[in-house]
Symmetry: C2
């Protein structure tokens, strides 16, 4: 067990925190770029409350609105230009994962002279990995990506139809100001996709990690169990603040690096495959994951049944006959897929109108960055292009 | 659930890491104060290997040897003076919790003009809480205090017989370079006290935290279960590197703030009571905790039985009749005490030759810092002086 863990983001967590925004930003800068998405924060009043908090502290701001659900590099470029033109000192992300991811790369791109797309890994020879950024404050309005307290960002290039990522220490937000009240108005479908996103962040580390990580396993299972329990409650009553709070906390735990510390996952294959698909179809990330994850799990269980048996036993209370009980492993995956269905997630590509026309392209794009020397997609096990196509075919 | 979490220490974890010391220190400074304890690192060769790694990278060093098991403020003052005289740029702690704690305060005291004891909270009117420090690199040789990756330090004043603490953001080590191989030579008794220390760090947060922290509970229970399992293995065979590795990881998890994030413990009463005792008797912290913790648990279980029932159920597989099953709560505490005994920890004051002569003094000193307006010791529940005396009496 050899690993490094470093996460300097200051997490400020709790209902009612939005009103602290101005005070927290003031420690960092006096002029902010306020990054927002499609406009929901305007409709539900969160934007006005954020602005009021900033103005109370004398912080001036300019807005970079309209970040897409799958944020585009063109929007990042627009934000970075605004930072330069308006001499912003801090970037505030007010929105979901896409807004937060875009803000991180805006912060880095504003200090970089070349094309912002250079900063995103997409198989290029010279990946310019950011080493500095403007300070970023994340204010999530959705429990899903965990982007608020990690150093990753996923960005799409609409021209090349590549959706890929950057993950590097410079991109840790300075502050994650998390107020679960802001998620009370999230509609059912987005809540469900968020639940799926959280769980897949956990399962990627859990199923692709090294053997013998007993504490981390318990921690991961705790996050999944909690996400299922409180996810159901949040879906039954969107205004259940306790449920929203635990769901938000789970989303952070799932991907801030601590749960997986020491697991050393060999890859994040389900994410890589989903990114390749949503680059072409602009589907919600969590919905795409709901389709790919069970299909991938059935593929991976054949190679490493014991971990899937453990999953079925500890998450769905199945009673395995032994650690190689493949029936139990598959029954656990079925139960998981049934849960996803029950909360309204799609579990087949056809449900989103996606056919097999581009399967080869998805398979190629999945392994642009996290690949071995032979070009196989990293994970446990590694996947050839043919493996990826077969997994996708099983999810048609 | 409202809380803040911030821990910027870079954790580098894994067997064989000692050889990286020079490289990691080189990023921070060129001249080091090397802080050590009673000499075990000299006898087992760890010191020479550390020095060789530093010198390979051209780092010069001076040693501050002889930090006591309960580190004294006079040693801190000596270290701070060495830093100034020798113009050190970085402090390296090579040893157990006492060496690490001393190093943290040396780093702060070197930049402070007044008396180092001003920096330690002990009920004074003007506690000078450190806001800056020389960078500190911790290299633990014992799995116990978790000091390698947190911002706390416990220091004793031999003159006033007060042992107290400081805990503040400035004291986070820059780097925790953790190499479980360094713990292979730890003798049985110190291994056992370390096991106890780890578990008590968890139980303090677990039993004094807020209600309804389901994920954190599972995480805490996972750390305890692992500590018991791998602790037994490390005691059976000190050279079991896998067991030592998991034990070391548990010690970090128990007290780096992440497990307890959102638990918001009302206090750390068992620690406060133990500190008051060991200020007078210079006993090993973990041994003192083994005596105080079960006695405190029996006291606290009366007020909050459900959490103790959960402890008995999840740690010792007891079958409670309900969440208020006091027999189960007490049986769990008995099982825990029996475990401590089985690994060679003392569980009675008399085993260390400590009588009731100073009980009133311990009770007063326990509540010097973490106390409510009426002077009661903070925790769930708060404790009057009389409560503390009664708990101690039950542990005679």
């Amino acid at each position: 067990m050899n690993f490094e863990f470093y996460n300097p983001t200051r997490l400020i967590f709790g209902a009612g925190n939005l009103k602290r925004l101005g005070k927290e930003v003031k420690r960092i800068g006096r002029r902010a770029l306020l990054v927002t998405g499609g406009g929901s924060v305007k409709r539900n009043g969160i934007f006005d409350r954020a602005v009021a908090s900033l103005e109370r502290e004398g912080i001036t701001w300019v807005e970079c609105a309209g970040i897409e659900p799958n944020p585009r590099i063109t929007s990042v470029a627009r934000g970075a230009q605004l930072v330069r033109d308006e001499k912003c000192e801090v970037v505030i992300a007010l929105g979901g994962g896409s807004t937060m991811d875009a803000s991180k790369v805006i912060g880095a791109a504003a200090l970089y002279d070349g094309e912002p797309w250079d900063l995103i890994g997409h198989g290029q020879q010279d990946w310019v990995i950011p080493t500095e950024t403007l300070p970023v404050v994340t204010v999530p309005t959705l429990a899903a990506t965990g982007s608020e307290m990690n150093c990753g960002a996923v960005i799409s290039n609409d021209e090349t139809k590549i959706k890929s990522f950057v993950q590097t220490e410079a991109l840790y937000p300075a502050v994650a100001l998390v107020d679960p009240e802001l998620t009370l108005t999230v509609p059912k479908d987005q809540t469900a996709y968020g639940i799926c996103d959280i769980i897949v962040h956990v399962t990627e580390a859990y199923f692709n990690g090294i053997d013998d990580t007993p504490v981390q396993d318990r921690f991961a299972e705790g996050v999944i169990l909690n996400t299922i329990d409180y996810g159901k409650r949040a879906l039954a009553d969107g205004n259940d603040l306790e449920a929203r709070t635990h769901l938000q906390w789970a989303s952070i735990l799932a991907l801030n690096g601590f749960m997986a510390a020491g697991m050393n996952p060999a890859g994040f294959p389900v994410h890589m495959i989903e990114h390749a698909i949503s680059a072409h179809h602009d589907i919600t990330h969590g919905a795409g994951l709901a389709i790919v994850n069970p299909a991938w799990m059935r593929f991976a269980a054949k190679v490493r049944p014991a971990k899937f048996v453990q999953f079925g036993e500890r998450i769905f209370n199945l009673k395995p006959k032994g650690s190689d009980d493949m029936d139990c492993a598959l029954a656990g995956i079925d139960a998981y897929e049934a849960f996803l269905k029950s909360i309204g997630c799609p579990t087949r590509l056809s449900a989103l109108g996606i056919g097999d026309e581009l399967f080869t392209r998805y398979a190629e794009d999945s392994a642009l960055v996290l690949r071995d020397e032979d070009g196989n997609l990293l994970g446990r096990p590694t996947m050839s292009k043919q493996d990826i196509v077969e997994v996708l075919r099983s999810a048609l």
